[in-house]
Amino acid sequence: MSAIVRTEGVGKKYRRRWALQDCTLDIPEGRVCGLVGPNGAGKSTLLGLTVGLLSPTVGSIEVCGGQPAVSSAQLAKVGFVAQDTPTYAGLTVADHLRMGAHLNPRWDDAAARRRIDRLGLDLRRRAGQLSGGQRAQLALTLGLAKHPDLLVLDEPVASLDPLARREFLQVLMEAVAEEGVSVLLSSHLVSDLERVCDHLIVLVDSQVKVSGDVDELLDTHHRLSGPLREEQGLPSDQSVVWSSHTDRQSTYVVRTDSPILDPAWSVTPLGLEDLVLAYLTATPTPSSASASAGRGLEVLR
């Protein structure tokens, strides 16, 4: 299956700070890909690069087979629901639909109106008068009606209450099922993504920690607990994601393709949330030690 987003050593630098570093990714077509990481990890930067709002400082990025935002045809292939779902406060819902119709060659007006109708939005209401949830739905409608190959959503539910959050994700999933669009969405909450994603990228401290299909990630990550043991004592094909030690006991989260054979360990499978948490609170590796030392210490305490 071909990749809908492919990045090669992409980095983005703002003045003196790297917001994203050495990011190499391959997101297959037809997936709902979750991008998760703490605030400030570089999620918005990666999404901005994907839709072409930003251009990379180093590296290359290819989306739907082309350079992002380079032409009108390329822009038509990618839909984007930006953070805080911006809309024109002074324009009505109908105006937004007309804007979409005027500015997008692949615009599906009937579908957009049907969706607005189903949501119960009044076409004559100004976007500034809509609730946060309704505005998010309007922005999603605009993104979907473009009929894109890839829909990118930046923290679409972060500012919504739990009910609106649920509704939003439901509408999104229905659309994905109907139109077969690939989706890339970010959140700092794993629980938002758990129900909708089949592909996951974990971003911490401006670096990609892990990426892959959810099923595969769950199959290859294990929690091992048993008597105290040094990290060096583990087989070489088990890479340690996270570790914790008491006086007598060690707990590891490891990634491995082979089965765990050591009878000393009691092996428990990981949920998606635990898996992500293991990466977010990972013991710093020597290369990123300086960057994440503070975070690591805080968690171990």
Binding site: A69, S72, L75, A82, T87, L91, M99, N104, G143, K146
Partner: protein, 343 residues
């Protein structure tokens, strides 16, 4: 994108055009009568009604403000507002490239501004034409259209000013990413340019004319003394000319101060409480004439550099081109900035 630009700007466009229309109706109602008045009388200034003078000065004020106000209030938020409210992230993900988005948005604003300011300035130029530089029989008069202030409010230059202000405000808005600071900064920059151009640039846009005249009672319009006691003569020039320099030169044609003996030619300054007699004034007038003749014999001449009234339209065209060239450069910078710096 054209629909979108219209949708976003239609309120302003309708309001501005309504105001311009109202102004045109007022001007059209009073203009023909004014033209007849000026046609029949030499000293029109004496005959102008309060309303006419109000309109004349009002026209100058409106044309002084309109380009700046339109340009700044329209251009400042044009892009900056999208940047500060975050809607650019929505706009730049429609199937329209950023450059095209800016081109249509800016082009639309420029076109509307040109139409509004164009109608306004041509209407006011037409209205004021009969009385520009109107003289009174004894004293007073209206400034000619070539003098620095009315020049900027006549003909076609206001259109160029408006375009320049608009594009400048757009670029500053792009760079600062905030509407209000962009408008304030644009106002400062625009005001500076508007002061600098008449002072240092406009006099040289079209080659000026210079004449050297003999000094006599007939050619000298007046003389003045500054605080240091230096006396300068001013030459009588035809109304409508814009005098750039007016100085006394010696027999070798070099700028020179008046000889010291000339000071005694002036009547003594009237002391407090001392009545000036008619006879005294006549005597000093005679003395002054003799002194002027003596200056002339000593080889002194008046050297005047000026833009003649006939240079009005050449100056208008050159200054318009200059501002439009500046606007084109600012446009180019805006496109460069939106492509390379906002990414």
């Amino acid at each position: 994108m054209i629909w979108m630009s219209w949708r976003q700007a239609r309120t302003q466009i309708v309001a501005v055009l309504a105001l311009v229309g109202a102004a045109c109706i007022w001007l059209a109602a009073t203009g023909p009568a004014l033209a007849r008045l000026a046609h029949r009388n030499t000293y029109v200034y004496d005959l102008l009604s309060r309303n006419d003078r109000l309109l004349f000065n009002g026209g100058i004020a409106v044309l002084a403000l309109a380009p700046a106000v339109l340009g700044i209030f329209w251009g400042g938020p044009l892009v900056a507002r999208e940047l500060e409210t975050g809607t650019y992230r929505l706009a730049w993900n429609q199937s329209v490239t950023r450059r095209r988005w800016l081109a249509v948005k800016l082009g639309f604003a420029v076109a509307a501004t040109v139409v509004a300011v164009g109608i306004l300035t041509l209407a006011i130029t037409w209205w004021a034409h009969p009385i520009d530089g109107a003289l009174g029989s004894r004293h007073g008069g209206l400034p000619s259209r070539l003098s620095p202030i009315p020049f900027a409010m006549r003909g076609i230059v206001p259109i160029a000013y408006a375009v320049f202000a608009l594009v400048l405000a757009t670029l500053v808005g792009l760079v600062l990413r905030r509407s209000l600071p962009a408008m304030a900064v644009t106002l400062a920059l625009y005001a500076f340019v508007q002061i600098a151009v008449p002072l240092w640039v406009r006099p040289h846009l079209v080659p000026s004319t210079s004449t050297t005249t003999v000094i006599s009672a007939g050619t000298i319009d007046g003389l003045s003394m500054d605080d240091a006691g230096t006396i300068t003569l001013s030459t009588r020039v035809a109304p409508g000319n814009w005098v750039l320099t007016d100085q006394t030169v010696d027999a070798h044609g070099r700028p020179a101060a008046l000889p010291t003996w000339f000071n005694s030619c002036l009547p003594p300054p009237p002391g407090p409480g001392q009545a000036r007699s008619q006879a005294g004034a006549v005597t000093s007038r005679g003395t002054l004439d003799r002194c002027l003749t003596r200056l002339d014999r000593a080889g002194y001449r008046q050297h005047v550099v000026y833009q003649p009234a006939s240079h009005f339209w050449p100056l208008q065209w050159v200054e318009t081109s200059l501002y439009l060239a500046g606007s084109a450069l600012l446009c180019f910078l805006s496109f460069w900035w939106i492509r390379h710096r906002l990414a």
